[in-house]
Amino acid sequence: MRRAAIAALAATMTLGAIPGAFAEGYESKPEAAERDPDYAAGKKAIADKNWGEAIARLMQAEKRDPDNPDLQNWLGYSHRNLKHYEAAFKHYNRAIELDPRHRGAHEYVGETYLLVGNLAGAERHLAALREICLLPCDELKDLEAAIARYKQR
């Protein structure tokens, strides 16, 4: 996961989830998920790189919000850092199932495939990102770079 994403997460922790003014008038209120104490604690644990705690708290939040692709993505990321690759794939794939255009999940699952030596798997998600990112996106660039580095090893 990009350092920028972690920095943004840390900033969110500090500043509060979503600017309050954005709450009004939205089709849904995603900040409500952020107010879930377990979800918030899980994200704080990720910012602190406390992966075990992150998984425990996010799994509590998952019981109340099982269809949240971001939550699944964070679970995948936490498992990946503990080298629980099977669990990481499960959560990343669930995130993509819930939101097939989830750019972050495509990037991170692609990177996870590289960690287990599965270049073809990473390239499948690179292809998906090329379809999604007709307008330039960081996730595509980052996965391209990761694959290029992998090939140079």
Partner: protein, 534 residues
């Protein structure tokens, strides 16, 4: 008890209420008039019955502030009327089909009122079940996402409806909250159609019920099923003409089927009722729908007058989506639907708290600039759209992020096209159209500022690919029927293909569509020529 709610409100109701329900008398402009027939059996004191039935009728037509006050006053008047706290909490959920839910303050108010209702103890098990059903939504409200609350509410009402199969109100509220679980990504419209099946039965039994007609319109508010909503749409305004929302809602169906005259008429009434009752966002919402319809009819002067009249109404805030969306969309539509690219480029952003309403203006300015050949301004506006998109993504607002992504793709496509990269232009514009087709339009809008697939048709036409253009125009007609620019593009494409019969067919449709219009747009003169009228 069955009460026919007729104007004038008050002689009968105030007498029955022992004169205690002064609220009704205080707000005659807000409440005078018919709200439909509701039969909600309850154990409250007879003196509050008329007011209670009327409050439930208002709940069914989303008359928010007045109904909130009415339920509170009923509970004050009869502290044993615990079911009034159910009504109070229900109206504070706001429009359940918008997926927004109450503000945090309103949720607290609802929870406090429900606690009072539970403490008072309803006299019947059925009333207690209703209170617990709305309680399922509010209990733990602070820690649940709106989607989860919606599902809990729907399950609770499903249980109430199953337990009381002869209770029409239980069936109707169950249908409403079931329809409210409809995902905008589900194009089988499963929840809508399940709700509609219940409501159709109720419609036969209760043809004057405001909720039945109202929720049928919502349950059919999707392109392939909209025709089924026409009977309810044509009745609802006459069932509850006192409710501004009832005057507006039929136009959701009229827009879907391209019945513009009906949309204009009902939104005109809604605008007047909304301004009279001080519901400013609803006034803008109705005006946006009316302007959309008027522009399809070529009634440009009326569209301008309607927009200007709305823009003179003050009192809305930048946090009110219906206001900021309506205000920004009307101006964008007025320029783009008339092909007035220069005016589109000069539009001003309506200050808002919502990046997706700002995006309406960025999109219009960008399209105006691109189509005028001003690539530098188009690129600047594309950057504004990218910032709005990023803000929505960071807020995890997927729906509106996708809508703005469609706009970004479209603008990138037009920039590429105008820079001479025809293939890249079509690729991006097609991606925009495909993405838009997979994302249902939101109820805040009668339609996208310009349908992406129609824009794809325009681009293909400029690239001298009339057959491909016509295909896109005709595909667009399925979801966005009876549109001025579509018919004109179709006519031009057919002519370029040498298909004079089809060109004449589309010219005829455009001439018919605009026969009460100003006749000022050059497209109308061209259509008349092709149709053989001049």
């Amino acid at each position: 008890m069955r009460i026919r709610l007729l104007p004038p409100l008050c002689a009968c109701a105030a007498l029955a209420a022992g004169g205690a329900l002064a609220h009704d008398d205080e707000s005659p402009a807000k409440l005078a008039g018919k709200l439909g027939t509701v039969n909600f059996a309850n154990s409250c004191d007879p003196k509050v019955q008329p007011a209670f039935e009327r409050a439930v009728a208002m709940l069914h037509s989303f008359v928010y502030n007045v109904a909130e006050k009415a339920f509170a006053e009923i509970f004050d008047e009869d502290p044993t009327c615990a079911i009034a706290t159910w009504g109070y909490a229900s109206i504070l959920m706001s429009n359940p089909l918008a997926g927004i839910g109450p503000t945090a303050d309103n949720a607290k108010k609802a929870q406090a009122m429900l606690a009072r209702g539970r403490a008072a103890g309803a006299k019947t098990e059925r009333e207690r079940d209703y209170i617990e059903a709305v309680g399922a939504y509010y209990d733990g409200w602070e820690t649940r996402p709106e989607k989860e609350r919606q599902i809990l509410r729907s399950k609770a009402y499903q249980a109430v409806a199953a337990k009381y199969p002869d209770d029409d109100e239980a069936q109707i509220f169950n249908a409403l909250y079931l329809a409210s679980t409809q995902s905008q990504a589900d194009q089988t419209y499963a929840a809508y159609l399940q709700a509609a099946a219940v409501l159709e039965r109720e419609f036969r039994k209760n043809p004057d019920h405001p909720g039945v007609a109202h929720y049928l319109i919502h349950s059919y508010d999707a392109p392939p099923i909209a025709e089924k909503g026409l009977p309810a749409a044509r009745l609802y305004a006459s069932i509850a003409p006192a409710a501004p929302h009832a005057l507006h809602m039929p136009s959701h169906i009229f827009t879907r089927v391209g019945s513009w005259e009906e949309s204009v008429a009902t939104n005109r009434r809604s605008f007047q009722a909304s301004t009279a009752s001080g519901d400013i966002p609803e006034a803008y919402h109705a005006s946006d729908y009316a302007v959309y319809a008027l522009l399809q009819l070529g009634r440009d002067a009326d569209a301008k007058r309607t927009m200007d009249e709305a823009m003179r109404v003050t009192g809305a805030t930048p946090a009110q989506t219906a206001y900021t969306y309506g205000a920004s969309a009307m101006a964008a539509r007025y320029a783009l639907e008339r092909g007035d690219w220069k005016s589109a480029m000069r539009l001003q952003v309506i200050p808002s708290k919502m990046p997706f309403t700002d995006a309406n203006t960025y999109f219009a300015r960008a399209l105006g600039a691109a189509r005028s050949g001003d690539i530098a301004q188009a690129q600047a506006e594309a950057a504004n759209l990218a910032a709005a998109h990023k803000a929505l993504e960071e807020a995890k607002n997927r729906y509106w992020a996708t809508e703005v992504e469609v706009q970004r793709l479209a603008i990138a496509g037009w920039i590429a096209h105008k820079q001479g990269d025809a293939a890249e232009g079509v690729k991006l514009m097609r991606a925009a159209a495909d993405l838009e087709d997979r994302n249902e339009k939101h109820i805040v809008t009668p339609g996208r500022i310009v349908p992406a697939r129609e824009l794809l048709g325009d681009m293909l036409l400029e690239q001298s690919q009339p057959a491909a253009a016509l295909k896109e125009y005709e595909t667009s007609q399925v979801r966005e029927p009876n549109r001025f620019r579509n018919y004109y593009g179709s006519m031009v494409a057919a002519r370029a293909m040498g298909d004079e019969a089809k060109a004449r067919q589309y010219a005829g449709r455009l001439v018919t569509l605009t026969e009460k219009g100003d006749g000022t747009r050059p497209e109308i003169a061209n259509a008349k020529m092709v149709f053989g009228q001049r």
